[in-house]
């Protein structure tokens, strides 16, 4: 039987048998499987750590900014208070309403 007649005579069942024989599962190398898994675990681990580091840095920055702002406001209020007290002392005490 020649190649042409072989092709022509090929019916569905024969084709399925050929496919079944030709398309068999292949096994990836165990080294590849292990290496890829290890790579993904370290990738996931480092990714999460980096994420948490960013979140921690942002939270710290917000807290430090709020604390600094609070401190600055308190200092300004104290300075203004001191200025007010010294100003009144220079004028000779509290002003009287009576004539």
């Amino acid at each position: 039987m020649g190649a042409d007649s072989m092709s022509a005579a090929m019916d569905r069942r024969q084709l399925e048998v050929w496919l079944r024989n030709a398309m068999t599962p292949v096994e990836p190398s165990t080294r590849f499987i292990r290496r890829l898994r290890a790579g993904m675990v370290s990738y996931q681990g480092s990714g999460l750590a980096l994420e948490w580091k960013i979140i921690a840095a942002i939270v710290t920055l917000i807290l430090v900014t709020a604390a600094s702002l609070g401190l600055a406001l308190r200092i300004i209020l104290v300075i203004l208070g001191l200025l007010g007290i010294s100003h009144r002392r220079r004028k000779g005490g509290p002003t009287s309403i009576s004539a």
């Binding site: 020649g2 090929m10 398309m23 990836p28 890829l36």
Partner: protein, 200 residues
């Protein structure tokens, strides 16, 4: 309603934050994806490279996976399909890569000449498969390599069982035509030798 096997949905939910959960998913699906890519690309080197990329991409996006009743493997196959499509596009100017030699050397060693002929046929058949449209290649891989039923293939490919049957019928017809075309193209005197392996 979920199309996930037992316990898989829980693994998927935990996979975004737990390395062990994603590792379990990886162990369950890596061989399927590797086989799919291997039969789409035709060599182990690219199959390894693309399989690695599929799982790296899956790892990045597994947190946004939504259970819509479609198996997790369908999601992985879709990623693999896109990466293989890019791979083919990048290589479109290059000739088709032949399948690795190991496929050509399986079988009995009692009759090496028969083996060689069978291997040549197998090579031609797989080349014909790789000339089919991607969805037809996927169907053949799922049916013959993964040995899945039409309904399981339908779940993965997002089609009804009837549509899969119909696609399978059309795929076999196209494959026969493609094979005949390849066979005619290579009919330069070696065809008669190959015929002996046809009754394998």
């Amino acid at each position: 309603m979920t199309g996930q096997p037992e316990g898989e949905l829980d693994l998927i939910r935990r996979a975004g934050s737990e390395a062990s959960a994603f590792g379990e998913l990886y162990e369950r699906h890596v061989r399927q994806i590797y086989n799919y890519i291997y039969y789409r690309t035709g060599n182990h080197h690219d199959a390894e490279d693309l399989t690695a990329r599929v799982f790296q991409r899956a790892l990045r996006h597994v947190g946004s996976f939504e259970d819509k009743g479609v198996p997790f493997s369908a999601w992985l196959y879709r990623i693999a399909h896109n990466l293989v499509a890019n791979w083919h596009r990048d290589r479109s100017r290059r000739p088709v890569v032949p399948f690795d030699e190991h496929l050509a050397t399986t079988g009995s060693s009692a009759h090496p000449e028969w083996e060689a002929m069978a291997a040549e046929e197998r090579q031609m058949l797989l080349t014909a498969v790789r000339r089919l449209p991607p969805d037809r290649q996927q169907l053949l891989i799922l049916k013959f390599v993964e040995r899945l039923s039409n309904s399981e293939i339908g779940e993965i490919m997002g089609r009804t069982e009837g549509a899969i049957k119909s696609l399978y019928h059309r795929t076999l017809n196209s494959l026969r035509e493609e094979f005949t075309r390849l066979d005619a193209g290579s009919d330069d005197g070696s065809g008669g030798e190959r015929a002996a392996g046809a009754d394998e």
